[in-house]
């Protein structure tokens, strides 16, 4: 009797889970950006540890809330440009992993610097059939020009995913493309992986030191 009850509850939970994940795929990109932005900013503003400078916690928050909405494969491929086709599957995997680590940390630092700015979520200008859109957000701060924060997003089987972030007109993907290009030209794809890894490790160390102080 009890067992059957447990089983039916579990089946119900599974159904609900399927239902929500199915619904998530339907969420329009601008709604998704607004929801995630407000949720994360709220958490950052309220969390005492983060306000006190707990970097690890911000990174965890980004990994939990923001990361699932990014397509790091696309981002890495775009940043690599032509060099992407010269990389082996194993190299591609490592590149994506290291680039992801670097971007998550940068994103976390940007979030940690957040202080009561307001957001203006612009109406999406696209056709319903579009599979590639630019979601525009503006960060408003008194006395200064608003900063634009745009997300290039593509429709995937798993919902809308971010493949580029454009801050004040500066596309991260375009910016990294030159850097990656130089590295690959100088020391090959493996050289790029090595320097990304070294960069991530150095940041990890300096965070650990800052934590001790």
């Amino acid at each position: 009797m009890m067992l059957r009850w447990v089983r039916s509850v579990m089946a119900g939970a599974a159904l609900v889970a399927i239902g929500t994940s199915g619904a998530r795929a339907e969420v329009p990109p601008d709604v998704l950006v607004k929801r995630v932005t407000l949720e994360v900013v709220d958490l950052v503003a309220q969390d005492k540890d983060i306000r006190a400078g707990d970097k690890r916690k911000v990174i965890d928050l980004v990994e939990l809330k923001v990361l699932p909405h990014f397509n790091f494969n696309s981002m890495t491929a775009l940043a690599m440009g032509r060099n992407w086709s010269h990389a082996s599957p194993e190299q591609k995997k490592q590149l994506t992993e290291e680039f992801k680590t670097l971007l998550v940390r940068t994103y976390a630092s940007a979030l940690a610097a957040y202080s009561d700015q307001k957001f203006d979520f612009r109406p999406l200008r696209s056709r319903p059939t579009d599979t590639d859109v630019m979601v525009q957000v503006r960060v408003i701060q008194g006395g200064a020009q608003p900063i634009s924060l745009d997300y290039g997003m593509e429709k995937t089987a798993d919902g809308w995913k971010v493949y580029d972030v454009v801050v004040g007109g500066v596309s991260l993907v375009v910016n990294y493309r030159t850097e990656f290009n130089h590295q690959v030209r100088d020391s090959g794809v493996d050289g790029l992986i090595r320097s990304l890894r070294a960069k991530n490790q150095a940041l990890e160390r300096s965070d650990a030191e800052a934590g001790k102080r």
Binding site: H86, P146, Y163, D164, G168, S171, R177, E179
Partner: protein, 288 residues
């Protein structure tokens, strides 16, 4: 006013700066091999960049950090507003030169309201009234008129620029109301305060740059060129279809470096469409 400014070790820092300069100069000469067509003076630019970075570490960043530590946020907001208000005069003039009459009117209305109701500009009441702050300068005006970037140049002390923007900056400085203030001591104090306030606003961005960049010079250069392009088009430049590059066929035979570089530089050339003047005129008419 005494700032908690580390006097001890200044000489050591200067020595290090000199060393950095020499090294950068040497390595700079070595890197001039495969020049990016946007950046033909990369070697020299890298040396000046290192010099600026050194000056920043020794003077600008410590002063800005002290300013942020000592001066509370509301006061810093007022300082930023005060100088922002003065800047609105020339922002309006540049919008006028670019034929954006509505924007120019907006900027001068900002100046009028902020100077009066905002008590000489220390309160940005105009933003709350719906007059948005703009970002314009002579470099952008030239860009709007169709003048290309020219080579990328890192100016000593002033930082990233291009040939076009350098000419713009010279004009900006020539007509700067603060810099043209008659009383020398007041002028110097105001210029120093403005620099401090502007540098303080960039502290967070500086930290991000340290974290994000593999090569700070390249990252700064590309960010500058992208940013300027976006500003010239007032935040909505014709979109680069990035995803299409994914569809590019894999490069079979290595092309000549020049051809490859050209495709990269093509991303940045700010081209004003041929019918730009007509479209802008039509927009102005529609607005009235």
């Amino acid at each position: 006013m005494t700032l908690p400014y580390p006097r001890a070790g200044l000489r050591g820092r200067l020595k290090r700066l000199a060393l950095v300069l020499v090294l950068a100069g040497a390595s700079g000469c070595a890197t001039v091999g495969e020049a990016d067509p946007r950046d033909p003076f990369e070697g020299l630019n890298r040396a000046v960049y290192a010099f600026n970075d050194g000056v920043d570490e020794i003077i600008a960043k410590p002063v800005a950090t002290a300013y942020v530590t000592v001066v509370p946020v509301p006061v810093r907001d007022r300082v930023r507003n005060f100088f922002g208000n003065i800047a609105d005069l020339l922002i309006g003039a540049n919008n006028l030169l670019q034929g954006k009459l509505g924007d120019a009117g907006n900027d001068w209305a900002r100046f009028v309201f902020n100077t009066t109701f905002g008590l000489f500009g220390i309160h940005d009441v105009a933003t709350e009234m719906g007059f948005e702050k703009h970002n314009e300068d002579f470099g952008q005006t030239f860009g709007r008129w169709g003048v290309g970037n020219g080579p990328y140049i890192v100016l000593p002390f002033l930082g990233p620029s291009t040939l076009r923007d350098t000419v713009g900056t010279v004009l900006d400085i020539r007509v700067d109301p603060v810099g043209n203030h008659n009383e020398t001591r007041e002028r110097n104090a105001l210029v120093a305060l403005r620099l401090t306030s502007q540098r303080a606003d960039l502290l967070d961005a500086g930290k991000l740059l340290e974290e994000a960049a593999l090569d700070k010079y390249l990252f700064t250069r590309d960010a500058y060129l992208q940013r300027r392009r976006s500003l010239i088009y007032d935040g909505s430049p014709p979109r680069e279809r990035i995803p299409e590059s994914r569809l590019e066929p894999p490069e079979v035979s290595p092309r000549a470096p020049a051809a490859r570089q050209a495709s990269v530089s093509g991303n940045y050339a700010p081209r004003v469409p041929a019918n730009y003047a007509q479209v802008m005129a039509a927009l102005e008419r529609a607005r009235k």
